[in-house]
Symmetry: C2
């Protein structure tokens, strides 16, 4: 079965008009997807991949993917499956394009969309949901598809094999048990920065009724207002529920140290993205100044080299891997393996477009064959799920296990027709 075409679409949803996704630095998010369709000789078998962006720049990611097509066009799916590790290298170390990266920013987001599409295609070819395809692979087959470049000082392939083989011994043999897992989640949907106090209060009440126990809110606009909002939310959710805050990189290291001193009284489970996501040593300075607080980051950590340092240096306490920022399963699993080695809990970033659909697979892979950490928690933010054929489903504050073949991000044909930024009815 050969790949016959790779199609890229710039899909944008006009979410900025409702302040959805607004935070301290992203004030006008139009939730968008760089949307890749890998067509094959079988019209019913298509690989779908995407990366999430917030509007402008989505065009740049689409354009980058043009340079990757040649690595899979006219190839047999089985050949692509076998050479997936080599394809990853070709895409992320493209001899000319790497100068404008390497392995970060526009070109790496594009690589994620493209490779996510390949993983979707391969797991559909095997008629399995992605998570299931991955855990069913022989350990050495799986490891051959992953990239261990630049991380041998922290984890080797051999150590990775030991971690996976060990975990696989406890893998439930009963398919029903795997398929009926509910993976615990927390919600961000109530606390966007652009929301009024009243809107936030109403949403929190609704979400408490729905059974949510962990609540995250945006801070970082003004410390007095942050305190006001934290107080308001803490009063509503009571002492028994968890509260996290996210300042989306708005503070410097010294400002973070000061802000945490002011916010501490609200019993914050973690402070997310307090400062630059590139500042491995800065995060550690914050932790040294406040040894009792926990930091989380990851949605803007660019690649496994940065993650490696954050985890080994104990600069973060919760690893918020992003399914579209780093380059797909090939790169995500090595990060999960490093996190496992250092017993760092992983709480994947979700929300946006397709992230909830992706992370439900990552969570199961991590739980079943990688992590030994006993904190199981994932982000959930209901956003644009109405546009998906098979959106992630939440029940009792947790993700239901996806059982359809593939990696779950097929957008409805009607939504594609409406919100294609170049040709869609909404934008024209």
């Amino acid at each position: 079965m050969r790949v016959t075409n790779v199609k890229t679409q710039d899909i944008r949803f006009p979410t900025s008009k409702d302040n959805l996704g607004s935070d301290a630095v992203h004030v006008d998010c139009d939730y968008s997807a760089t949307y890749v369709t890998i067509e094959t000789e079988d019209v019913n078998l298509k690989g779908i991949g995407l990366t999430f962006t917030i509007g402008k720049g989505n065009d740049l990611c689409c354009k980058s993917i043009e340079y990757f097509k040649e690595f899979i066009l006219e190839k047999e799916i089985e050949e692509i499956e076998k050479e997936l590790g080599i394809i990853w290298e070709k895409v992320t170390n493209h001899s000319q394009l790497r100068w404008v990266g390497p392995q970060k920013g526009v070109t790496h987001l594009a690589a994620a969309a493209f490779l996510n599409g390949i993983w979707d295609l391969i797991s559909k070819y095997h008629k399995k949901p992605l998570w299931r395809y991955v855990i069913d692979l022989e350990t050495y087959e799986l490891l051959d598809k992953l990239s261990f470049s630049y991380i041998d000082d922290v984890i080797t392939k051999k150590e990775a094999a030991e971690i996976i083989d060990q975990k696989k011994q406890n893998l439930p043999s009963n398919k029903d048990e795997l398929n009926s897992t509910i993976f615990p989640a927390y919600t961000t949907a109530a606390g966007w920065l652009g929301y009024s106090d009243d809107k936030m209060k109403d949403l929190i009440k609704v979400n408490l009724k729905k059974g949510w126990t962990h609540f995250k809110m945006k801070v970082g606009q003004d410390i007095e207002r942050d305190i006001h909002r934290c107080k308001l939310v803490r009063e509503l959710i009571g002492k028994e529920n968890k509260l996290m805050v996210d300042s989306n990189q708005v503070w410097s290291v010294n400002q973070t140290i000061d802000s945490i001193s002011r916010l501490k009284e609200f019993d914050i489970m973690f402070y997310e993205e307090p400062t630059s996501p590139d500042d491995i040593i800065g995060f550690r300075k914050i932790k040294d100044a406040h040894p009792d607080v926990k930091l989380a980051t990851g949605e803007m950590i660019q690649n496994k080299v940065i993650f490696k340092q954050f985890i080994e240096n104990k600069s973060l306490d919760y690893c918020q891997i992003d399914s579209c920022r780093i380059a797909s399963i090939n790169e995500i699993l090595p990060v999960l393996l490093i996190a496992s080695k250092f017993n760092t809990p992983v709480i994947p970033h979700a929300g946006g477009i397709g992230l909830c659909e992706y992370v439900q697979h990552l969570n199961l892979i991590n739980k079943f064959i990688i992590t030994n950490n006993d904190l199981f928690l994932s982000e959930y933010a209901e956003s644009c799920s109405e546009h998906f054929d098979n959106p992630a489903i939440i029940k009792d504050g947790g993700y239901l296990t996806p059982t359809n073949p593939g990696y779950s991000v097929k957008i409805k044909d009607s939504s594609l027709r409406e919100f294609d930024y170049n040709e869609g009815t909404y934008w024209n």
Copy 2:
């Protein structure tokens, strides 16, 4: 005097056919420029800026610049000059585009080209070469144009002011003395990886005759061949001249530690880019394993947050700032100030397209108002200088001081017409 138009051109020179610029990971470089022309009401006053890339991806940088134009169009030059710090923030923290960065990769290279063009325009407006415009600014006026975001844990604006004010006390008052400075350089032109032994030998002999004393060569293809080439070059240049090697990120941390053990005998002044330019902690591990060797990196360090960590953590010994990778004078000077505070020598990256022209200005600014380090050395690689109106000029192994107004990267009109990738005669 108002800005009336911002024009972007995708300029590519077909250098890959001569193996120019080839190294362990970049095997087919077409030296390219994302070329920006800022037009004003005066047809004779244009700001010219560029960023250097190596072919594909240049188109992405050009496209990014479309999003920055609005920040200067129809504004008075004096207003732009006054608000340059604010414009830097708008460009590098664009509310939607930052998601596909932030401050790294395609969008940050584009920001560098755009902002380099603004600095060129402003210094031409004052009829001064860029270096002279900068050192003539009052300290507080200069600092207001720079970005100190995310670095207050390592340097404050106040400390920066003290460094500059201190240095300015020793600034030669005689203009002729400033203008007649010759800034020492070393050459990379002999040791490209694609060159044969004979071609390399011939070039080294030629360059010895020209008076060069520092030689850099590419390594990283195969350690036995690296040893062969190092031996060959060391024999030709003798013990009295300096030899540096550059492996362009091809090794992991552990591989670097092993390779250095093999290459040490050739008395290497520094090892450039041994591993990933994102690996602050990895570089430090290499130094801890080989306390007697020196490491250099910077041409792919993405922003001042990464530089801050590399310098403070003593992960590098020579800071190879790039004039097109980080976002112009606004961001470069803070890095030079941090390097000054930690007494880290700066040896700017050059070669490519326009980098030699840019770094001649950075070297003088650093020497006259920033650094206290007594190593003065800059890279030089003659490449494509024939395409510039006023290329950097080398005499006795050093850069002559540029005295024409502006930032020196105007490409000849005839070259633009020939090598425009979309409309040029060469590509069509």
